[in-house]
């Protein structure tokens, strides 16, 4: 178990270094002098040269690379080229907003999606099944911003039940939950679509197996057969999809953040891109990669909890 985790962490480190190298190269190959961007078109050549020197842009590229990699691996992602504040703290300021949104969407999507999938599988080729298949197909065809805008039109503007803006400045818990409700639902609907589909297909496969027939034959109650015996054997494919989709969810949160004017990683990366804040951009890419790597590792470890037959080597 421990060797497995260490080995996976080793792979994660390699991936991270590859990503860092790629980012480092891409950012420097592309046109646009960051010093010029910071100072504006009107800056004198002297001040541009001075700033280039201060940012380390005049050092040989290998020196820049080595110092960048060394500091990044120690958690120091440098200072923002635009605001001058440490990149790590800029990211940590908004990270909780994205994490809370993603996590809430994940939980809600699972809570809605698993029963929907089970229901569809049990009522196979009947009205609930067709309904669930249609709904999940629409759900996974819905771009996150379209879902968010439709929810906003209906529940925030038409009915006025929830605030239009989710600025994250709520003071009470109820207000905070009300602000989070619609952005969470927008992402959860898409998550639910994926989970419903995988649950349904996994359930159909399990329900046709011999042990299910045996359980039924010996008089186990139908609901126990479905919810305990069969569903228990579907948890692995469901976990796979949840893990896979969590990465996409983290990416898609940028869209809901824009629609609901919510702070978060998505808003921050847009700022970094429009201002050509290279250091902030590098830092954010590291954080995104780290999150995906952590999610993948967590998924692998969950398999072992769900199925004791799985041995980590």
């Amino acid at each position: 178990m421990l060797t497995f985790i260490l080995k996976r962490l080793g792979f994660a480190l390699i991936t991270l270094i590859c990503v860092l190298t790629l980012v480092f190269l891409v950012v420097r190959i592309l046109p646009g002098d960051p010093a010029l961007v910071i100072l504006g078109d009107q800056a004198s050549p002297d001040s541009v040269a001075a700033l280039r020197d201060r940012l380390g842009l005049n050092d040989p590229i290998l020196v820049q690379y080595a110092s960048f990699l060394g500091r990044a691996l120690q958690g120091d992602l440098g200072n923002s080229m635009v605001t001058g504040r440490p990149v790590t703290s800029e990211i940590l300021n908004v990270l909780p907003y994205t994490l809370e949104l993603t996590f809430a969407a994940l939980v809600l999507g699972t809570v809605l999606g698993v029963p929907a999938g089970v229901w569809a599988a049990v009522r196979r080729n009947r009205i609930p099944d067709y309904l669930m298949r249609l709904v999940s197909l629409i759900g996974l065809s819905l771009p996150a911003f379209v879902a968010a805008i439709i929810l906003m039109m209906v529940f925030a503007i038409h009915f006025g039940w929830f605030p239009v803006i989710s600025a994250g400045n709520a003071e009470t818990l109820t207000e905070r939950l009300r602000q989070m409700a619609l952005p969470t639902l927008a992402l959860a609907l898409i998550m639910m679509a994926y989970i419903t589909r995988v649950t349904r297909s996994a359930m159909l496969e399990v329900l046709s197996q011999d042990f299910v027939r045996t359980a039924r034959a010996k008089g186990v109650s139908p609901s126990r057969v479905v919810w305990t015996h069969a569903l228990g054997n579907c948890l692995i494919p469901i976990t796979t999809v949840v893990g896979l989709y969590l990465g996409i969810l983290i990416g898609n949160s940028v869209l809901t953040e824009i629609v609901f004017s919510r702070p978060g990683l998505g808003k921050l990366i847009l700022t970094a891109l429009t201002q050509r804040d290279y250091t902030l951009l590098q830092g954010m890419i590291v954080v995104y990669t780290l999150m995906v790597v952590v999610v993948n590792l967590a998924t692998d470890l969950t398999y072992g909890l769900l199925d004791p037959r799985i041995q980590y080597k």
Binding site: P143, I157, L255
Partner: protein, 292 residues
């Protein structure tokens, strides 16, 4: 190249293709009809509306649907129906071409990796895994922001995010086919590596690749629309569906139909590609019939 030298697994292709057409199911047909209809609408846009997609008319700002304008006008007085029709051109072109590029490059790399194995395989797939270890939307976003939002660049950026998926599926396919009897027969006949790989193994893995392409076209359309919504799509006044949703969103309190119409268009096209992909998968792999 004589007929006698042909190994056992070069089947009667024409018959197989006809059979595939006949086995297409309802879901594929619905998807195909929608896509073909949208392609026709995009091509014949000038015949389907008298308005220009970019001509502004300050006398008819934000007019409601009906009244000379089928779907009303936006805040610059531009006809929404016309913008939807012309916008279909960009969504379709980018969605389809990005995936065609990803399919060709990804399948090629995956096939090479699977066929050669060894160090080539490890290096190629490690690179693919690095690309995959990143949320696709964020990767596309960063690429477009850095290389500039032109049609070609958006296609390249989306293709880049989709390539690893094709490489993986092609590699897995080649690895199961590589040691089959027909491939060994080819080798025994002295066929060259490229000939075995591209003439004999490739037809066996193509159906799966086609299914993937259709599902990924859905994703590509969604990504293009998302980029345009964020403001990293083709520059205005080009009528992109995602950009139209963004402009509608800015006026959402006064006229919600501005955002609704292009939202439905995006949903329809993505849904159509998903229907085709789901349907084709049932045809290609009947074992998964209930997976959709």
């Amino acid at each position: 190249m004589t007929d006698m030298a042909h190994p056992p697994a070069a089947p009667a292709k024409r018959r197989a293709r006809l059979g595939l057409l006949r086995r297409l199911n309802l879901s594929t047909w619905i998807g195909l009809v929608i896509v073909v209809a949208l392609v026709l609408a995009a091509i014949f846009a000038p015949w389907l509306t008298e308005y220009s997609p970019s001509k502004q008319n300050i006398l008819h700002q934000l007019s409601p649907p009906g009244d000379g304008h089928l779907l009303g006008t936006d805040q610059y007085g531009r006809d929404i129906w016309a913008r939807l029709l012309y916008g279909a051109r960009y969504s379709l072109t980018i969605g389809i071409f990005a995936i065609v590029v990803a399919m060709i490059v990804g399948t090629f790399l995956g096939m090479i990796a699977g066929f050669l194995g060894g160090r080539t395989d490890i290096v190629l797939m490690q690179v693919m895994d690095v690309i995959l270890a990143f949320p696709a939307l964020i990767l596309g976003l960063a690429l477009v922001a850095l290389i500039g939002a032109t049609m070609g660049n958006i296609i390249i950026a989306i293709a880049f995010t989709a390539t690893p998926a094709f490489a993986r599926i092609a590699r897995a396919g080649v690895m199961t086919q590589r040691d089959r009897e027909y491939a060994q027969a080819c080798r025994a006949l002295g066929f060259s590596g490229p000939r075995i790989l591209f003439r004999h193994i490739m037809p066996a893995i193509l159906p799966e690749v086609m299914v993937m392409s259709s599902l990924w076209m859905a994703t590509a359309v969604r990504t293009e629309a998302s980029l345009a919504f964020i403001g990293l799509g083709l520059a205005p006044p080009t009528p992109t569906w995602g950009g139209m949703v963004r402009e509608g969103y800015d006026n959402i309190l006064s006229s919600f139909h501005l955002a609704l119409a292009p939202s439905i268009a995006i949903l329809l096209l993505v849904l159509a590609f998903n229907l085709i992909g789901d349907g084709l998968r049932d045809v290609v792999d009947p074992r998964l019939k209930d997976a959709s």
